[in-house]
């Protein structure tokens, strides 16, 4: 029994990690087409990636969207959390549910509803439309992690500040923010990573000339077959995520990384 459980566990790790490993190894191959094991080592596909206007453009656009959307989500999510973290009652549960809903809401429906909404109000620039969609999707991660940080703050601290006539802004800057920044950072980092790889709303909201890197990779796979430049594009995204995880581990600890994802 024990043996079977360990075998199944090993299988889980293999099927989760192997595809990612294969992509990274492939990205460094020297051959024209996919071959395994790869023939030779080269950086030619990374050069091809940065030489391609559409790939480079999609990459830098993805970074810009992720940066703006995660900042927006962090600011809005922190405001919402501070306002309602300690409130009780049906109405506040409902409001909080609304902020958290995009977590489990089918993102494809959100993408379509935003596309039709943008069309109904006379059109929104693709870039802005994507920033908005990714902020909506990132918001719940911020609300969740900031709320749990806030609930760990002793309310007496806040009251002490208020009784000393500190303005709400001062209370936030000098009392609350220093205590909850790891929660804000965890939520923000997660919103950034989510935006970087997001497909379901981007499918609807990208337009001709305005794509994100995951959508660019998807259309390459669908229409142009297996050029290895996609492996390089994927590997770059994987390296970025590894770097972000390592930095986050220093700043906020492993526990928060594992928790903010689930």
């Amino acid at each position: 029994m024990r043996g079977l459980l360990i075998a199944l566990t090993g299988f889980s790790y293999v099927v989760v990690l192997l595809p990612i490993l294969i992509v990274v190894v492939t990205a460094f191959s020297a051959s024209e087409f996919f071959a395994f094991p790869p023939k030779g080592f080269s950086l030619r596909w990374f050069e091809a990636f940065f030489a391609s206007d559409s790939m480079r453009g999609a990459f830098s656009r993805s970074l810009q969207i992720a940066t703006i959307a995660s900042i927006l989500a962090t600011v809005l999510g922190t405001m919402a959390s501070i306002a309602i973290a300690r409130r009780k009652g049906t109405l506040f549960n409902l409001v909080q549910g609304m902020f958290l809903a995009p977590l489990i809401f089918p993102a494809i429906v959100l993408g379509l509803s935003l596309l039709i909404f943008y069309k109904s109000i006379g059109g929104v620039p693709d870039f802005l439309g994507l920033v908005i969609a990714h902020s909506v999707l990132g918001l719940p991660f911020v609300v969740r992690s900031v709320t749990s940080s806030l609930l760990a703050v002793d309310p007496a601290l806040e009251e002490a500040g208020q009784s000393l006539k500190a303005s709400p802004v001062d209370v936030f800057i000098f009392i609350i923010a220093p205590l909850i920044w790891p929660g804000m950072l965890a939520g923000g980092i997660f919103a950034f990573i989510l935006s970087l790889g997001e497909l379901n709303t981007a499918l609807f909201l990208t337009g001709p000339g305005v794509t994100t890197l995951p959508i660019e990779i998807f259309s390459y796979l669908q229409f142009q077959g297996g050029q290895l430049v996609i492996a390089a594009a994927s590997a770059i995204q994987i390296f970025m995520i590894i770097a972000i995880v390592l930095i986050a581990e220093r700043l906020i600890g492993l526990k928060r990384i594992v928790r903010s994802e689930s």
Binding site: L18, L112, V136, S167, G226, I241, S262
Partner: protein, 289 residues
């Protein structure tokens, strides 16, 4: 002065809550209501939707056997992926949960970090492994076991397997959390009453871990519903699930039909979520929702 202070707090409360509330209201709730409104109209060749209210889109989905086939296939896909994830995920969680905290965190990170990688990249990894020129085929060919390539992709099984590997981590993390929340004393009590390990599992561990199982299966099913890119890449052009029809209708500019199909998808999500909660009754475990 006291009322001045509370005024101040009241203003601060609304100043904090109004911007995020408006943002989510305008860009999540209103578009959804608008989508429903669009779904209640016929098609139009010039506008987003026709001018007359009609239930024709829903009528079509409910009566056309083509849609029934797709909806059943979607349900079947969701169930298969859920079950695969449950078996593998529970076994994995059962092995990881009792490990020392630091080791457990690292083992979990190895499963959670891949969730941050875009699904399109993870699907591409499976194409590289299972495709015509992929790892499996080239290895089998070099050993002389096969002459032509095996077709391992473009099937229901490929989609179910691929999505299972993409979503498995959610299940493991949910169940590990639930297992670690179980008070060891319950298990010791069962053992001191001479319950064997199987009976201890069935009567103590499984019911107490049901909140984790419920949230894991729920998440896996809901994410399966949206996974257009994975379904398209691993299933090929003919493997259509409900989400593919939403996308196809959009490509054909049939907005009202796409909107109605979205609500069919949401209904499916709600029904299955209700069934999972009714079946597992996670609320019976004290102190958890």
């Amino acid at each position: 002065m006291g009322s001045g202070l509370s005024m101040n707090r009241q203003t601060a409360f609304w100043a904090l809550l109004a911007p995020p509330l408006l943002f989510v209201g305008i860009f999540f709730v209103v578009p959804l209501l608008n989508l429903f409104w669009v779904s209640l109209h016929g098609a139009s060749s010039t506008e987003l939707f026709g001018s007359n209210l009609s239930g024709e889109n829903y009528y079509r989905i409910l009566t056309d056997s083509f849609y029934h086939t797709i909806i059943l296939r979607t349900l079947w896909a969701g169930m298969s992926i859920m079950l695969l994830c449950l078996v593998l995920g529970y076994a994995t969680a059962y092995v990881i949960a009792p490990l020392p905290p630091r080791t457990r965190l690292i083992m979990l990170l190895l499963l959670v970090a891949p969730l941050m990688v875009s699904n399109v990249i993870r699907a591409y990894g499976w194409i590289a492994i299972l495709g015509r020129q992929g790892v499996v085929n080239s290895m089998l060919r070099s050993t002389g076991l096969i002459d032509g390539p095996l077709l391992l992709l473009n099937s229901f099984e490929a989609v179910a397997f691929g999505l299972m590997t993409i979503l498995l981590s959610y299940m493991v993390v949910s169940i590990v959390n639930a297992l670690n929340a179980i008070d060891r004393q319950y298990i010791e009590a069962a053992q001191s009453l001479k319950a064997n390990p199987v009976r201890t599992f069935i009567e103590v561990v499984w019911p107490l871990s049901s909140p984790g199982v419920a949230s894991g299966t729920l998440l896996v099913f809901l994410l399966t519903l949206s996974a257009y890119v994975t379904i398209t890449l691993l299933g090929g052009p003919r493997m259509k699930l409900l989400v593919s029809l939403v996308f196809d209708s959009v490509s054909g500019f049939r907005w009202p039909l796409a909107a109605a199909l979205s609500f069919a998808l949401l209904t499916l999500a709600l029904v299955v979520a209700g069934l999972i909660l009714a079946l597992l009754r996670p609320g019976r475990v004290q102190g958890r929702g």
